[in-house]
Symmetry: C2
Subunit: 348 residues, 2 copies
C-alpha cells in the first residue's frame, strides 16, 4: 500500500488537501496543533465568509465533517511534528504525542497568525475597551450577541473601521499588504448596517483593495445599498474625551486634519507570518522568505514546492491569502504530493 | 480503462489541469481553439511574469512542452467543442474537427479577452499611434525590440501608464477590477526604467492594488529602487499638441487640474469576460454570472464546480485572475474531475 501524505495544519488549505487526497484513494495523516480542526475561520469564530456569504461554521465546518468522516484520513489533533526525516517517497515524522508517521510527502498548511493590535499602541487597542479588532466583530456576529460596545454593552451609533492595522506599515515591521482585510471590512460594515440601520459606519483607508469581482460585491454594494462611508486618510491616533473615542488624523483627499468622535473603533488586523514558522522551517528543513513566510520554490511547473523536495506548502503559510485561494492551493499541492507518492517505491 | 477528462483551453489553468491529471494516471483530451497552446501569456507575447520574474516563453512554454510530451494527453488545437452531452462519468463532446471525445468530466479553462482600448476613445488609443496598451509594451520587451514610440521609433523620455482602462468603469460597462493590472504596471514601469534609465515613468491610479506580497516587491521597489512616480488622479482625456501627447485630468490628492506632456502613453488594459462565454455557456449548459464570467457553484467542498454537475471551471474564465491562482485552480478542478472519473462506471 502506498504511504500516506502528511498534511500539517487543519485549516481550509489542509482540509482541502486531505479531502482531495482521500478522494483519489490516498491515505492521509493530518496533524493539527490545536484540539479542533477548522483553522482560523472556526477557531477564531468568523461570521459570514468572503465572498460566498456562507457562515464559517457551515462552510468550513462542512469541510471538517467531511474529513473527520473519511476512513483514509487519520487525524492527530493537539499534536505537532517534532522531527521530519527521510527522502521523497520515504519520510518519517515523529509527533509530539510520541507516535510516528510514515509519509511519501508532506504539505505544510500551517497558516498565519492574526496581527496583535497591541503592537500599534497609538491606535488605542488595549487602552480603550471600545477599540476592538475585526476578529472580535466577527465573534460578536457569529455568536449572535450582535454589535455592542464592550465597555457598557450599548449599541454603537458611530463605528469607524481602520484599515491596514499591521499591514503596509514599516514602522512596525509589517510592510506587506494582508490582501483580504479591505474586503472583509466592507463585509463587516454591511453586517453592522444591517443589524443597526441607524448606525453610521466609516471606513478609513489608504487604498481600497477590493480587487477582482469583490469590487462590485463589496465596495460598490456597501456604499450604494448600505451607505457605508469611505474616507482616504492617514490615522495618527485614537484617544478618548471621556465619553467618545476620538479618531485623529488627516483626510488625504481634502488635505485637512480630522478629529471625529466614535462609539466603536474597529482595527482591520492583518495577517502576520505564523509565529511558529521559524520552528517549522527548522523541523521540515525548508526556507523562509524575507518577511518570514514559507518560501515557494516554483510557481509554474509544480505549484507549492518548497526549497525541500517532497515538502509542499499551501495557503496563508506562503503569505496573506484568501480562503478560496488557500483551498485551491491545498488541492494543487495535494496533486503534486500524490504524484510523488505514485513514483515512490511501494512501502512494505 | 477510465474515460479521459476533457480540458477546454490551453492556457495556464488548462495546462496545469491537463498535466496534473496525467501525473496521477488519468487520460486527458485538451481542446484549444487557437493553433498553439499557451494561452494569453504565449499568444499575446507577455514578457517577464508577475511575480516570478521568469519570461513567459520559459515559464508557460515549459508547461506547454511538458503537456505536449505526455502520452496520456491528446491535444486538439484549432478546435472547439460544438456539442457536449451526457452525464457525469459519461459525457461525449463533438469537436469542430468532426471528431468525438468521450469524457468522465470537463474542465473549462477558457480564460478571458483583453479589453479593447478603442472602447475608451477619449483616452486616445486608435487616434494617436503613441498611445499603446500594456500588452503592446510586453511585446516590445519580449521581442527584444525595446521600448519605442510607434510613431517614429524614438526612445520615449516621458511615459505615462494609465491604470484601470476597461476596469472599475461603469460608463463603459466594466465595473469589476481586473486584479492584476496594478502589479503588472509596476512591473512594466521597472522594465522601462531598467532599459531607459533617463526616462521618467509616471503611473496614474485610483487605488494601488498591489495586494499581499506584491506590495514590497512591486509598489515599494518600483518607487525606491526604480524611481517610478505614482499620482492618484482621474484622467479626463489624452490629446496631442502636435509634438507630445497631453494627459489631462485631476490630481485627486492635491485637488488640482493636471495637463502633462508625454512621449508614450500606456493603457493598463483590463480583463473582459471571454467574448465566447455566451456560446460556451450554451454548449456546456452552464450559467454565467452577472458580468458574463462563468459562474462558480461551490467555494468550499468542491472548488471549481459550475451549475452543471461534472463540469468544472478554473482560472480567468471565472473572473480576473492571476497566473499563479489560475494554475492552482486548474489543479484543484483536476482533482475534483478525477474523483468523478473514479466514481463513474468503467467505460467499455
Amino acid at each position: 500500500m502506498d504511504k500516506p501524505i502528511l498534511v500539517v495544519g487543519g485549516g481550509p488549505a489542509g482540509l482541502a488537501a486531505a479531502h482531495s487526497l482521500a478522494s483519489i484513494g490516498s491515505r492521509v495523516a493530518l496533524v493539527e496543533k490545536e484540539a479542533r480542526l477548522g483553522g482560523a475561520p472556526i477557531l477564531s469564530g468568523y461570521a459570514k465568509l468572503v465572498p460566498s456569504g456562507e457562515w464559517a461554521k457551515d462552510a468550513i465546518g462542512g469541510m471538517v465533517k467531511r474529513v473527520e468522516a473519511n476512513d483514509l484520513i487519520s487525524i492527530h489533533t493537539s499534536s505537532r511534528v517534532e522531527e521530519f526525516a527521510g527522502a521523497p517517497g520515504d519520510f518519517t515524522a515523529r509527533l509530539s504525542s510520541g507516535s510516528t508517521v510514515d509519509a511519501a510527502a508532506a504539505i505544510l498548511c500551517t497558516g498565519f497568525t492574526h496581527f496583535d493590535s497591541v503592537n500599534k499602541p497609538e491606535w488605542g487597542f488595549g487602552t480603550f475597551p471600545d477599540v476592538v479588532t475585526t476578529t472580535q466583530v466577527e465573534q460578536m456576529i457569529s455568536s449572535g450577541r450582535g454589535i455592542r460596545c464592550p465597555s457598557d454593552g450599548r449599541r454603537p451609533q458611530r463605528v469607524a473601521i481602520l484599515l491596514c492595522v499591521g499591514s503596509r506599515d514599516r514602522q512596525i515591521g509589517r510592510e506587506w499588504c494582508s490582501k483580504i482585510c479591505c474586503t472583509v471590512s466592507c463585509n463587516i460594515a454591511m453586517e453592522i448596517r444591517e443589524e443597526l440601520p441607524d448606525c453610521h459606519v466609516y471606513i478609513y483607508y489608504m487604498d481600497i483593495r477590493t480587487y477582482g469581482l469583490y469590487e462590485t460585491k463589496y465596495y460598490w454594494r456597501s456604499q450604494e445599498e448600505f451607505k457605508v462611508k469611505y474616507i482616504k486618510a492617514r490615522i495618527a491616533e485614537v484617544t478618548s474625551d471621556g465619553q467618545k473615542l476620538i479618531v485623529k488624523g488627516e483626510d488625504t483627499l481634502v488635505k485637512r486634519p480630522i478629529t471625529i468622535p466614535f462609539d466603536l473603533v474597529v482595527h482591520a488586523i492583518g495577517m502576520d507570518p505564523n509565529v511558529e514558522n521559524p520552528a517549522l522551517a527548522r523541523v521540515f528543513g525548508v526556507k523562509l522568505q524575507e518577511h518570514g513566510h514559507i518560501a515557494k520554490a516554483n510557481a509554474y511547473c509544480t505549484l507549492g514546492e518548497t526549497s525541500r523536495e517532497g515538502v509542499f506548502v499551501a495557503g496563508a503559510a506562503t503569505g496573506p491569502e484568501t480562503i478560496d485561494d488557500s483551498i485551491a492551493q491545498g488541492n494543487a499541492a495535494a496533486m503534486a504530493a500524490f504524484a510523488i507518492g505514485r513514483k515512490a517505491p511501494v512501502a512494505a
